[in-house]
Symmetry: C2
Subunit: 145 residues, 2 copies
DNA sequence: TATAATTAAATTGCACTCAATCAAAATCGC
DNA sequence: GCGATTTTGATTGAGTGCAATTTAATTATA
């Protein structure tokens, strides 16, 4: 018999592991669809914020995405290289780098509307389960602030 | 009014985003405790499998952790360098690399028993919510196989 | 108003994560 | 038995994540 003292050290008794594994598996499901848009997953969720706000600072991006400038700086630069966003300093506060959508970026949004449904089709959770999971994940995020 | 066609492209309407963000936030909570053990999060969950099985192949590790050899090869090598595991080829099948626990690795297990409780204290979910989240995450993982 | 403290990004370095490819070993089909 | 296929890990390269540090700009304070 396994001594009880080690029970908490089993993968399946943790919350962190299925969270970590499921996040990577779901992200992986995006790849084939995002390849068509020439976006990685991180670039995609960054575009989701910019599509919605039109223009925002790197700091605001980071707060919404839970990412810091170490991650975002290269992501935003690559989005600029692809022509989907512009980067420029705020004139009111030169420390702030603003990122704003371009016409090409706006056009990409129409191509991207299919992605959520395409990925959703790969994920067979009952609607009420998806809602519960969604709620609990946001609660978990809120509890950790 | 925002046109409805873009509603699915909002971060908060997706399951993937809170999953991705929560996984990273939870993993981050492990760092201070794992630093004491000189382990990264990936090294830690790898050790969790080896603590339980005593010895297993890289392939078996990968199936349990949802990781491939591109990730595991360097992780297992670094665990060997720290003295926690041994690596050797199976004599029955030379393709198979076996990873087995060392005395030092076993000793580390005792130090690690505190970690789940320490991290748990940072995550304020009601027990029944944690159980539901756990169940739904494993269901999601199973549905994606 | 100089100086100190704070803030926003960028940079650096390390450790993943994963797709794609490769090499060696084992198994399959005939 | 033997060539074709499959399997197991290792390697490579691109793209993150994140801690720590740096730089430039702004704000607070004596």
């Amino acid at each position: 018999m396994e001594p009880q003292k080690y029970d908490m050290l089993k993968l399946e008794n943790q919350l962190c592991f299925p969270l970590y594994a499921a996040a990577r598996e779901v992200t992986k499901r995006y790849r084939p669809f995002l390849d068509d848009l020439n976006l990685t997953y991180t670039q995609y969720i960054t575009m989701m914020v910019i599509w919605e706000c039109g223009e925002c600072s790197v700091k605001a991006l980071g707060e919404k995405l839970y990412l810091d400038s170490g991650t975002l700086t290269p992501v935003v630069k690559s989005l600029e290289q692809k022509g989907y966003v512009r980067r420029f300093r705020s004139t009111e506060d030169e420390r702030v780098l603003l990122v704003s959508i371009t016409d090409e970026g706006r056009a990409l949004r129409d191509k991207a509307t299919a992605v959520p449904m395409q990925v959703g089709a790969c994920i067979h959770l009952a609607p009420e389960e998806a809602v519960t999971l969604h709620r609990l994940l946001y609660k978990l995020l809120a509890e950790m602030e």
